[in-house]
Amino acid sequence: MKLIVEKRSSRASDLSILFVSLFSVLVALIILGLIILSLKKNPIEAYIELVSWPFGTVAGVVQTLIAMMPLLFTSLGLLIAFKMKLWNIGAEGQFYMGAFAATWGALFVFDHISNPWLMVPLLMILGMGSGAGWAAISGLMRAYLGVNEILSTLMLNYIAIHWVDYLVYGPWKGAQSHNFPITATFPKAAILPQYGANGLNLGIFFALITSIFVYYLLKWTRLGYEIEIAGDNIRAAEYSGINVKRTIVIVMAISGAISGLGGMMEMSGVLFRLQPNFSPGYGYTAIIIAWLARLNPFIAIIVSFFFGGLLVGTQQIQLFLQIPFSLINVFQGLVLFALLSGEIFLRYRIKVVRT
């Protein structure tokens, strides 16, 4: 008797993907329950905490949506690049650059503009432009110098983060901030409309519109068609007369523009001023979201909603069951691990063979 792992010959059906994903989450939850039990606490209570606030209350759902917004933007940006097998892992840096450009516009360039109908679109253009430019650097290096985009986007992340650090600790320190590393607050015109007391803002709607745009781009344009061809076989794309180098740069730029727009929305919609460490790694979580969403911009909405809820829900368990942070880390790792091992069952089948 031995076990043989075989590649599945056909693609897994949508239903089985859904089933495996749900099953994976269930497994992670059961393990979480066991961990909590070992701490002599009630796992049922933990499950309730995990779900009831982020998905069951208005205020909590809003928190989930706020956590989801940057995740959705960055994962949408990434999935365009991933579709072409461009491994842009620089969403974090592009997000930072978008936030940087929005802050620059709001506080230093357009600070005299008082009309939000003018200001917000200008900031959006700045955020997209700077994210696009940032990602295009990696695109150009990949297309014309053959530099691996994984490395260049990763390195650019660090540069972007340190650039923002430099600004808030140095020249952009707010006049009123007593030398603390934080910029001045955005003028009113630069702040997105807020709905209700819970912090719901227009950013999430922009994120949803962006998923429709990404869907359109991938499914209804020549560029989307070329991305599919190049993503499947880059040599066949060259053979088909597609200017692969140009496409790489364009795709990277669009990818960065969307993450950059996310950074701008985070500033104008949620934080209103630039501060260090304002992203807890959204751009990295987005890699996993894009992957789990199977590069589908609509599934990305669902997955980032789920991840947003997970971030919010795990804070609830910490707060109200006093579970140590390290175990929460373990749990979040478990969810990922379970989802990724679910992938293996979708791609391979395991057979028992008698020998």
Partner: protein
Amino acid sequence: MSDVVLRLSGIVKSFPGVLANDHVDFTLKRGEVHALLGENGAGKTTLMNIAYGIYKPDEGDIYVDNRRVKITSPHRAMEYGIGMIQQHFSLVPSFSVAENITLGLKEFGIFPKMESVKKKIESLSQKFGLDVSADSHIWQLSVGEQQRVEILKLLYMNARIMILDEPTAILTPQETENLFKTIREMVKNGASVIFISHKLKEVLKISDRITVMRHGRMLDTIPTSVADERILARKMVGRDVLLKVSKKPSSPGREILEVENLWSRGDKGQYAIRGVDLKVRSGEILGIAGVEGNGQRELAESIYGLRRYTGRVVIDGEDMLPLDVTSRIRRGVAYIPQDRKGLALCGGLPIYYNFFLKVFDSPNFSFNPYMFNPSYLRRGAEQMVKDYSISTPSVDLEAKYLSGGNMQKVVLAREISGSPKLIIAVHPTRGLDVGAMEFIYKSLLRERNKGVAILLIAGDLEEIFTLSDRVGVLYEGEIVGYSKPDESHIEEIGLMMAGVGSIDA
């Protein structure tokens, strides 16, 4: 027959759409170097993979030392003393030579005694002239040195039967010379070597006997002493009539393709095309004959704009720039490459995409690039499936699941549907069954009769003779001469292909 160490008898192996080995018999004697000669796709590697336990034969038996054996895995093969060096090495770059050699050896367990291993490696490497240090790491080594590590691995495991799959493809002439010395040394020590190649000169130099394969069948085994390049070239590219297609005389029109003093480098940086001039007129097929590896691929890719070159490529009166595929497609250049899976198709995409990879450069379509959905292509694809009688359950099937013949039909359909002025076809029927072959011949001839200029680059003389109106011979990156595609010139063409003599046409 006591000196026969390995015998393959009646081996049959088929892959979807291709009969890779068709009742092949093969014997290897103790202490001989036996060359296995044939074009790419002739079935050499498949046969040897069967002997090495990678593939399971559909039919046939394997005998080692006249005992019938079942070889189910490379591990099993090693137990019978059979070792193979494949074209892609299986070495771990971050490990040292000694570690790579001990990797996977059962006798060692988890903590091998590296000192004694190293000593044995050094002595083997000295004995067989393999200049490799046991402590170097694989990533530091050249490909030639890596190959020597693979050989050491086999020697270390006491392999008696060594299969070398195209070992010289990656070597410089100097390294090739050294490899031959090693092979002779191994044979002196009682090993037997199977040497897979398509290079005539090398085969003549190193082997004791030569077996020629073509189209999955074993053609002949002859002692090297009675062979010469001319005989081998003819055997290799064949004259066996598989298929006769009638064609009417050509009526060439204006010049469509003109190539002048074309120079272009191969993937390894050396010149593969050295000053080629050629012309193809509308309504004619120019066949380019030659033994594999004489610049065929580079010639086609340069003309099509995929490869950098110097010199001139003029298409229908317009000078083309290097590396510009798009304007060639717009000018009506179609290309049926040798590597259809790697270059001409997107295996992971549905068939209907593959019919229309060039849709935005094609004059026959004008889709709005901002309001275009690939499913618009479905109906056209269904029509093409019908027109080209492609057997597939649906146009939604991913192209990689098609058989070789159907894949080539998809490529052909796409290229012809663009109403080309020039078709470049490289080995268009390689690996296909007779039915698909006939279909492709007829399609190409129909296009020629419609007035399309066709540049046909093929290794198979039969194919060249069936289709071409003129024949040029490519040898070491040069067109060494032209001839007429009929029986009476076969001797002359064979000589040119072997690089023996060049005759000006």
